[in-house]
Assembly symmetry: C2
């Protein structure tokens, strides 16, 4: 079956004429018409079999997650997603696989009105590369470099769940976890929820943001380095899910939440003046946002647990090489 | 060494502040400011080791070619390239390889003032995915679907050289080829020259275009299908390089030029009224453009050789699955 037929069959759901898309999947390239008043935000990420997911990972999960990690980068900029391209390497044609992969991809894309406008299918080891173009209004971008002294640091959601899900996959006989909790952890690993709604709510006043893909410590350190600032973090304030509370036994377990990676939550900083506004939003919308520390002079992270200094973990998070 | 350090070392040459780039490599995503009067053109292509290039292919060639195949798609739309993202899968860190790859990439990018604004480096089998965003003014897009009856069909450059280069790589002991010619064929395979200059000259009056990546016949057929038209092609008019003239012995050899793929030349159609304008441009700029046939009613390609009907080849070109 030809590449074109496969693309037509599985990846042309968004080909209907649409206000800002002139040519979608099917020509040498797509043509889109951006709004003249907005800037564009561009990101790309690749997921490889054996590195980012196991060979037996459900295709729906791969479709969802490969898009989610890119949407998470768009969220970390405070932007809205518009258009995506998808490059798919496949060892062979498996129609069931393609159907399930595309279902996972489109379910998440449709949730954010993101349109797939082009791509490529090639032979090779299973690998998914997605590029997203989003839009942002002037002065709403959340750069890593914009932290200011005395900013409050927040994280979205709960930390460490996805990394624990990965641990469960690696050691399937873990005895201490109830099946409901296991399902929760695995869902957090396989179906991360990009924080676009939050990002688009706070982007008019938040200063800086980064998404936690490699681990809280390593990603926060990247934001601090870009901002040329330090941070004080309270380990005791790190948000822990109900399922995770049953696992955590001591301070070392708590620290592990900061280095596991795969959270796809956001770290962001706001001025103390905006604290009430943010917490009212959090309460009204029932969105989990937790103040975990603040920006200070310096270049490092200093960690306390209930007010007492504690070392940051030796292993700080994942880096790709 | 961290992904960030590697990216900083090898892929941040375009990070200087630039009129339409607000944030380049280094944040969660790039921020760019498109011109309000233009539409954007978006394309992506992946090259995999063992499929699109041999494991011992020079890194400069991989850097050049992975960008060239994407620029060729931008040319086939009549657009100008602006910004690229690069996703690179590598089995391990090899600094020499990265240096040579990035040299090949940047040399071609700089030729067209294309800026690398973001990307991703991950562990995995060697694979390169590039996305390009280009721009185009209203009514200058060269769609596959715009062929009109009686349009003249042109191709750029010479056909079949790159495919013959691939044959030489596969059968290194080919005795009939002079070393100069061998070098020419291999360069045509390894260092394709995207036809951006031509595309941007003809885009105000040409009707339709497609680039020849998989083979003249299969790519022309794609354009005809999109346009719901047929074409008459004169095999005897197909442009042949000086080196190729020494190889061609008979009609079957001629037909092979139409199916080899990897040409990265353009097929485009113009109204007969614009023939003089096009040929004056070709002559003034010493650019090889050859009229090879015309658009007719129907849906198929009909082939003649010196006025006598001949069958189109059974094997029509490469398809990826």
């Amino acid at each position: 079956m030809s590449e074109q037929t496969l693309i037509q069959k599985y990846f042309s759901r968004h080909n209907a004429v649409c206000e800002n898309i002139e040519v979608s999947v099917g020509d040498d390239a797509a043509i889109v018409c951006p709004s003249s008043k907005k800037k564009l935000v561009v990101t790309t990420d690749t997921l490889n079999v054996g590195i980012h997911f196991y060979p037996d990972c459900k295709p729906e999960y791969i479709g969802h997650k490969s898009l989610a990690v890119n949407l998470s980068d768009i969220a970390a900029m405070g932007a809205k997603p518009l258009w995506a391209t998808l490059s798919l390497s496949l060892p062979d044609i498996n129609h069931d696989w393609l159907k399930m992969f595309s279902n996972g991809f489109y379910a998440l894309a449709d949730q954010y009105n993101l349109k797939l406008i082009g791509g490529d299918m090639v032979k090779g080891p299973l690998s998914v590369t997605i590029q997203i173009i989003g839009s942002i209004e002037a002065n709403q971008e959340l750069l890593r470099s914009n932290c200011e002294i005395d900013d409050l640091l927040y994280v979205t959601g709960y930390l460490g769940d996805a990394a624990f899900g990965l641990k469960l996959l690696q050691n399937n006989n873990h005895v201490d976890v109830h099946s409901n909790d296991k399902e929760y952890f695995l869902n957090r690993l396989n179906l991360p929820n990009p924080r676009l709604d939050i990002a688009n709510n706070i982007n008019s006043y938040a200063h800086a943001a980064i998404d936690i893909s490699d681990g809280f410590i390593i990603d926060l350190q990247r934001m601090l380095t870009a901002s040329n600032k330090g941070a004080e973090i309270s380990l005791d304030k790190i948000p822990i899910s109900t399922s995770m509370k049953k696992i955590i036994k001591n301070e070392d377990d708590m620290k592990e939440l900061l280095t596991g990676g795969e959270d796809y939550e956001l770290i962001f900083s706001i001025s103390e003046n905006d604290k009430n506004k943010l917490e009212a939003y959090s309460e009204n919308e029932k969105i989990m946002l937790t103040e975990v520390g603040k920006i200070v002079k310096g270049s490092q992270i200093s960690l306390t647990n209930n007010g007492i200094h504690t070392d940051i973990p030796q292993f700080k998070g994942f880096d790709h090489f």
